[in-house]
Amino acid sequence: MKYLRLKRRRDFRRQRWQFLAVLVTIALGVMLYAASYDAFLNLESSYNNTYQRLAFADIAVTGGDSTLPATLAGIDGVTTVSERRQADIPMRTGTDTLLGRVVGMPPDRQPDVNKIDIIAGTYLDPSQPNGVVVETHMATEFDIAVGDTVKVLGGAGWVDANVVGIGVSPEYIWPARSKQELFPAPGTFGVMFVSQDLLKIAPNNVAVDQTLVLYDAGVDRTTVDAAVQKAALAAGASDVATRLEQPSNAALQEDVGSFGELSIMFPVLFLLAAGMATFTLLTRLVFSQRTQIGTFLANGVSSKALTRHYRSYGVILGIAGSVIGVGVGAILGWVITGAYTDALGIPDTVRTLHPATPIVGLGFGLVAGILASVAPARAVARMSPAEAMRGDIPAGRGQRSFLERVVPPVRRLPVRWLMVIRGVGRNKRRSLSTVIGVVLALVLILTSWGMIDTVQVLLDRQFNDVAIEDVTVVFQDPVTADVVSQVASRSGVAVAEPVVTLSVSAARAGGTYATELRGYESNSQVHGFLTDSGLLPPSGILAGSALVDQIGARVGDVVTLTFPQLSTSIDTTIAGFVTEPVGTVLYMDVNTLRASLAAASPSVPASALTPPSITSVAAVFDAGADRASIIAGLKTDPSVAVVVDNQAFYDLVAGFMGFFYMFVGVMLAFGAAMAFSLIFNTISVNVAERSGEYASMRANGLSLHRIGALIVGENLFLTILGIIPGLVVGYFFAFAYMGSFSSDLFSFNLEMRGSTLVLSALAMVAVAALSLVPGIRSVRNLDVAAVVRERSL
């Protein structure tokens, strides 16, 4: 009907700000979805493209006997098997020293698996046996260019390596040393690709052999993974890492996975809010136009046509919001993908418009608009023309509130208080909409704020309760008791202890898990153990709690620990578990470890644990000591290879918190806007509906102040009703959300501060109070005489 369409157009124009607010909310929800989901898909494609082009290993096996490569090549689905050797050894570039990694490569050609994307200079050349390709993160961090020299510490001393190229490796897109050290301290790690000949300078006990495997495209990965794993373990491999388990990819998948989750969770919150805002707005529209509706009905316009007319508002809002959201989202997704791949240095950036994303986005917006308009449109269908034309508000049957029925003494409260309490149940659907709005806003706020709290608490725990040491010192020579004493005797050093770090695979019937075993003094003062006693057990091991999921281990179980560097294994019991924020490490009393290895077959002498790559010295400084000066002193000691400053790492991670604060700030603003929009709409409708009552009260001497207090009371009561479940739902949402990040890499159990709950609740009250201002102003501006006159003339 042409004139109904004209009316609709003019309605949109007349209430443009309210409709615009709803439109923006729908558009925001759809945009968030379209941008983040498309970016998520694009990032996955970018990774896959890079992995495919550079032949990223489908599985990487460490250790194993000489028959392993041939065995693996014979497994169905395996196309390529490549062998190499790698070692973690001290390096020196300029004045910096680090515990870097050298990875052996064929000098005359790119390897078949884990190729390097050369971004500067050239690949290795057989004519330059000391030529190396530096991994791009290392080159950036240490300002290394082609033609520079990097020193590497071999068994016979420092050797010059000449930088011939800088490259990107699919293994080190995220430069993690291992799954237990996803975030190496700044300036302590770097990777260089070297010829197998140059790698020979590395001492045997720090070098490991690896077998890298590629699969046929389209094979069932799980089946082939299982077959390779089985064969590798049978051949004595100490670690088998599927593509998902390889450190860089595991870290990146955590990141991309969270992107995928965000791309669904936050848009859903926004679309729910948009749906409720649409519902409230349309209810208000229908209410304000009830006399027109009555007149239309009286003049023969069918209720079906009118229902369709009012539903069309929701449909139009849904379509317009989602079209805008999809359009802006596609652009934003494009930008995010590029920014993300740039920031992480992913060589390939794939930007594809996935047709399903806009279709689903349009569907989201449309469904939100349609569902929100169903109830107001049905109200139109049920309207009696005579009643509607009179403009009367159906009073409905008043009743005592639930609270009064349950607690009868409440009935004796002053009537204005009863009015506040009963006002909540006056329009249940609208009240519910506000309550849900507050709940959603709190979910949004607590989920993001919970993330900050968790990271802050875990950072604090990691650096103050677990990794207590100020520095870890790696030496060039074997670490004897004298070396430890020398560090301890330095001015400003309170305590120094040797720390043994061994690569290990823990195995029991439930599976195998490759990790690190760290040996500390039993009463260590450089490392904290999150157990009741805070001490290492005299026998057995303490294990990261993720080991339960990884190999099904329980306290008291016997596990077999295989040490590839020492070519031996021991059986030990699990004495307890520790839940540490980062990694899944095994801990053992260093004396127990020495004794167990001595008793192992083949036996390992205590001297085998003293090489610098195995034993380092961890030190805690005196309170108030001059950290910089102590660290500088250690670095100038010619016997020191690397000084890892734990505080620098803490500062680095703490620096990332700025991003978190920004993220939470945005979410707080979104949550506040969502709550504001819903409470504002509810109160606007309430005031509009009750203008006669308020006018009557004012005529009978009720001051604006008292009427304002009634409105504030009712809506704050409603807000508080939303806050209570909101805090509970928000907490559990945050709990589930943080839990989704937990793995053997991180333990992100929610740690929410009590103050966060209190501040979030207060923030909601503040937003509610703010959103009441326009409503109270409208009562202040209520022309009592006009209301009375319009109703009486």
Binding site: V415, R416, M419, G692, M697, N700, G701, L704, V788, S792
Partner: protein, 239 residues
């Protein structure tokens, strides 16, 4: 007439809405006096200015010019808070569309206003509701009351403050004739027994027969100001 016997004194009262070419003069220099204990009916067709006049007496809006004294107070110079205080102490309002709060019972609707003036709000509200014949319906919500009963609650709400002036805007406009008669009887009784002045605005000229005084407005002017020496009973009115 001495000041002590005057409830309302209006002199050359003008009320305009809007400005310039669109300005509308609802009252064009109206003057009259209402003695205490008088039942006054203001008659007039739609747009004659009768509701505007009632709103002026009730201090719902300030006059444009002229003087208006009610209960000894010059209303023209009052600010918003003083007008609210005046309405609270001196005026009770009854509207055509009751405007009761649907979530409050009859007793609570009355007590809401009674609480503002101190004393035992519930006790006073009960008494007034009994006076208007709703003693057995006090715990009913508006949705459970008939139109006449709702209007009686509305009258009780106006009376509970014991104001010297009760202003009624089309109080029978939404009621059938039998109920209308009951309501008018009740209003009449508040002057006879309660000693207050009642001003009823209506376009139903029949009601004029029961008034002590009739003012008729047309186009913002008083065109008739008559005293009725022998007012009729409400039941005798010919609806």
């Amino acid at each position: 007439m001495t000041e002590a016997t005057v409830a309302v004194r209006v002199e050359d009262l003008v009320k305009s809405y809007g400005e310039g070419e669109t300005a509308v003069q609802a009252l064009r220099g109206v003057s009259f006096t209402i003695p205490r204990r008088e039942f006054v009916v203001i008659l007039g067709p739609s747009g004659s200015g009768k509701t505007t006049l009632l709103n002026q007496i009730g201090a719902l809006e300030p006059p444009t010019s002229g003087s208006l004294q009610a209960d000894g107070v010059e209303l023209g110079g009052l600010d918003e808070s003083q007008r609210t205080e005046y309405r609270l102490r001196s005026v009770g309002f009854v509207f055509q569309f009751f405007n009761l709060v649907p979530t409050l019972t009859a007793l609570e609707n009355v007590a809401l206003i009674a609480e503002l003036t101190g004393g035992d709000a519930v006790d006073r509200s009960m008494k007034v509701l009994e006076q208007v014949g709703l003693g057995d319906r006090v715990d009913h919500f508006p949705g459970q009351l008939s139109g006449g009963e709702q209007q009686r609650v509305s009258i009780a709400r106006g009376l509970v403050k014991d104001p010297p002036l009760l202003l009624c805007d089309e109080p029978t406009g939404s009621l059938d004739s039998d109920t209308g008669v009951q309501v008018l009887d009740l209003l009449r009784a508040t002057t006879d027994g309660g000693g207050r002045s009642v001003v009823v605005v209506t376009h139903n000229s029949t009601i004029a027969d029961m008034a002590d005084r009739v003012l008729e407005l047309r186009d913002g002017h008083i065109v008739r100001d008559e005293t009725n020496a022998s007012p009729s009973q409400a039941k005798d009115l010919d609806w």
